[in-house]
């Protein structure tokens, strides 16, 4: 008899659901993709229906991400009285905001099912370790706040995952990074990746020391503890009010990123000291900082695993794995809603040769923040106007670069440094003048490599593109516009095509 377990993250931000049937991930998706509300905290009816369909019925048990009461206790301690007292119980938030009929039916359906919960950082650690290729590893989790924990280090050996260090609220590296994101006029808890990109435009040395001295106590070389001079839960909008020009903001972004890298390096070093292992798993929202990830990659000689959805959305999977305490077969991040049909290789190449830009929405949607081929907007990376063209379509800031996707066997010819299939590291572009759209101002690129096993359709597309143009790579960005969730279904793809005037292919037509 098969066992179905659902992991659910709902109620705070980035809602998601994962269904694991007999130890295999059969479906995993973000709520925002169906509700079309960025970082939606509710799980929409459509996502739940998709999960029911993929699982073949209701689950045998449900695991919620986070310990609700622990979190409320912290919220009370922090002064978030309204949230702590008025937030409905997680289980009642499960369904949706306005489709109460379905909600009631759904709750009745689940009535009596055993429910569990996995703590915030334990879920992160489990999502990373149990999907990794390692059977022993050090696990470093850095994020804003869970229930109380903000930074943890774990030791994984066999199926056992043991916490060896924990740091609690209000000392939080993630909160500080979000506070700095808000300080330079961006949206905290959402636009951190823009700060990372903006950093390349500024001088990192100008404010690095000031930022560190004003916010951090000196680092202790014998402990991973990071102590802050103030609680940054309400941001730091009033800090250094005289710095308010665009260049100041760029310098602040650069300084912030430089300080983060310094702190991250310290944490990786301390992880190495505390856990004797050649392998490292990095998780938590901070693991999306691909510039810093490259530091860990170097320090562990490439033996680093970052689950492609390391933030809170990925923890619906972590919640299940934290309960199961077993390794799971990780085949890739293509786990969401399926658009059937052959991957549109010929049509895409044809469109790229005519217009230079094409969208593809085909196969299972990616579970994670990056579009890795199935909900992607591709463009010819050669030429000076490509970046502006795609940025205009996507309504993004001009300075922001795009990522390249390249055939794995050609990656070393064009890039120098760590690369991987999930766009998690940055490497130097060897010829930025020929490919200005995929190289940042500091000539780095966030490279996605592809081989036959990872994604046959995308591999064939790049092979055909190389055969016809001599270029083995394409610009790859998510099929959305700034501030919108990625396209999910055929209907979304059609709407996107009609609104933004770029052809979106959902299957190969004859």
């Amino acid at each position: 008899m098969s066992t179905t377990i659902w992991g659910i993250n709902v109620g705070t931000h980035d809602s998601s659901i994962t269904s694991v049937v007999d130890g295999e991930i059969v479906f995993a998706a973000h709520g925002e993709r169906s509700s079309r509300i960025k970082n939606d905290k509710f799980l929409p009816e459509q996502t739940i229906r998709q999960t029911l369909r993929a699982s073949g019925g209701i689950p045998d048990r449900i695991v919620f991400y986070e310990r609700d009461m622990w979190k409320r206790a912290r919220q009370l301690w922090a002064g978030q009285y309204k949230t702590a007292f008025t937030k409905p119980l997680v289980t009642s938030l499960l369904p949706l905001r306005d489709e109460m009929e379905f909600s009631d039916k759904f709750i009745t359906l689940l009535d009596g099912l055993p429910t569990h919960s996995t703590a915030h950082h334990h879920s992160h650690a489990a999502a990373g370790y149990y999907t990794s290729p390692y059977r022993e590893a050090a696990v470093l989790v850095i994020d804003s706040i869970g229930e109380w924990e903000t930074l943890t280090i774990w030791k994984g050996k066999g199926t056992e995952l043991k916490r060896v260090f924990s740091q609690g609220y209000p000392n939080s590296v993630g909160l500080w990074y979000s506070a700095m994101t808000q300080r330079i006029g961006l949206k905290p808890n959402e636009d951190e990746y823009i700060l990372m990109g903006w950093a390349a435009l500024g001088d990192p040395d100008k404010y690095k020391k000031r930022i560190f001295d004003d916010f951090f106590y000196p680092l202790d070389q014998n402990s991973p503890k990071i102590r802050f001079r103030q609680n940054l839960h309400r941001g730091c909008k009033d800090w250094a009010p005289e710095l308010n020009s665009v260049q100041d903001y760029a310098d602040l972004a650069a300084g912030t990123q430089a300080v983060y890298e310094y702190v991250f390096k310290h944490l990786v070093k301390q992880t190495k000291r505390l856990v004797d292992s050649d392998n490292l798993v990095v998780m938590g929202g901070c693991a999306l900082n691909c510039v810093a990830n490259s530091i860990a990659y170097e320090m562990y000689n490439g033996n680093v695993w970052i689950m492609p959805n390391p933030g809170d959305a990925g923890s619906s999977l972590g919640a299940v794995l934290g309960l199961q305490r077993e390794f799971i077969n990780w085949e890739g991040p293509y786990l969401g809603y399926n658009i059937p049909g052959a991957y549109p290789v010929n049509n895409a190449v044809k469109e790229l040769k005519i217009t230079g830009i094409v969208g593809i929405a085909n196969g299972k949607a990616e579970f994670g923040p990056r579009a890795l081929g199935n909900r992607s907007l591709f463009a010819d990376p050669r030429g000076v106007d490509v970046k502006d063209k795609v940025n205009t379509v996507k309504r993004r800031q001009e300075f922001r670069p795009f990522a390249p996707v390249i055939l794995e066997e050609h990656a070393n010819e064009y890039f120098d440094g760590p690369t991987g299939p999930y766009m998690q590291y940055t490497s130097k572009c060897k010829d930025p003048e020929q490919f200005p759209a995929i190289a940042h101002l500091d000539n780095t690129s966030r490279v996605q490599t592809v081989n036959k096993k990872q994604h046959l359709g995308l591999y064939n597309l790049l092979t055909k593109w190389k055969k016809e143009t001599g270029c083995p790579m394409l610009l790859n960005t998510s099929l959305n516009i700034k501030g919108e969730p990625m396209v999910d279904t055929e209907a979304d793809a059609k709407r996107w095509q009609d609104t933004y005037g770029v052809t979106v292919l959902t299957e190969e037509s004859k």
Binding site: T12, H13, Q75, A78, G79, Q80, Y81, K82, T83, S144, I145, L175, S178, A179, Q182, P188, N189, L232, H233, R234, G235, K237
Partner: protein, 34 residues
């Protein structure tokens, strides 16, 4: 009795002041994370 009433008024004023302060703070600097 008068003493008790006076004490209650002081308490009430204090609570009102704290509540207002928290409200202003939330308006000026809301929490950036739940």
């Amino acid at each position: 009795m008068i003493k008790w009433i006076k004490k209650k008024i002081v308490e009430w004023k204090y609570k009102r002041k704290v509540k207002k302060k928290l409200k202003d703070l939330a308006k000026k600097d809301p929490f950036i994370y739940d």
